[in-house]
Symmetry: C2
Subunit: 119 residues, 2 copies
C-alpha cells in the first residue's frame, strides 16, 4: 500500500518536525519542518525539501547554496508526529557553513563552540 | 557566565523541541519537548527531564519505567530554537520497548518495521 503523507500527525500549522542525520557518520545535522507536500516531494524526488516557516514556501535544501541533501532513508516515530531523515549531505548543513547546526555545547556554566565553519 | 535557559527560543506554548541521541552509538532515540524549567532541571540534575504535552507536567524520563536518560552533553542549534541531548540511555527509549522511537522506515511504496522490541 502506497505511503500517504496525510497519515502523519501535523501541528496546528500543518507542519511536522524533521531531524536530519548524516547517514554514514550518524551526526545530527539540523532540525527543520515539513508539511505533507514537502514529505511527498522528498519521497518522490529524493532531494530533501522542507517548508520554510520564515519564508512560507518550499525549501529545497541546497538549491541556492549547493549544499544539497540526498535522501537515503526516511523514518517516522511511534507517535507519527516526527520524522528522521538519513541523508547524504554535500558540504555544510548549517547556514553558518558548519557541518551541523548543533555546534554549541551548553552546560550550567555557559556555552562552548565545538565546531568551526568548513569553508 | 552561567547559562540562562530563557535565552533559548521557545514556541507559542513555551516549548523547545529536543532531539535525544545515544552518546556512544549516535542512534537518534526520540524527540520530545522541554520548557525553560525542564532545561534547567536537566542541566542541574543530569537526569533528562521533558515537558509532557499530553499530561502537562514534567516528565523525568524513566522515572516510572526505569529507562532513564543520563545527560552526557546538551547542544543548542544555530537558531537557538532546538536542542540536542546526548545521553546514556538505560534500556529502550520508546514506550513500545524498542531502543528508538524511529523504528518505522517509510518510502513512497509504504512502511517497514525495522526494529523489534527489546523486552
Amino acid at each position: 500500500m502506497a505511503f500517504d503523507p496525510s497519515s502523519l500527525k501535523y501541528d496546528a500549522n500543518g507542519l511536522i518536525p524533521v531531524v536530519t542525520q548524516d547517514h554514514s557518520s550518524h551526526e545530527v545535522l539540523m532540525v527543520a519542518w515539513m508539511n505533507a507536500d514537502a514529505v511527498k516531494k522528498t519521497l518522490d524526488g529524493g532531494k530533501v525539501t522542507y517548508w520554510s516557516r520564515s519564508r512560507q514556501k518550499f525549501w529545497v535544501k541546497g538549491e541556492t547554496s549547493g549544499h544539497v541533501q540526498t535522501l537515503v532513508e526516511m523514518r517516522v516515530d511511534c507517535d507519527r508526529d516526527c520524522l528522521l531523515v538519513l541523508v547524504d549531505q554535500t558540504g555544510p548543513a548549517c547556514h553558518t557553513n558548519r557541518r551541523s547546526c548543533f555546534f554549541t555545547s551548553v552546560n550550567a556554566e555557559g556555552e562552548t563552540e565545538i565546531m568551526k565553519p568548513m569553508v
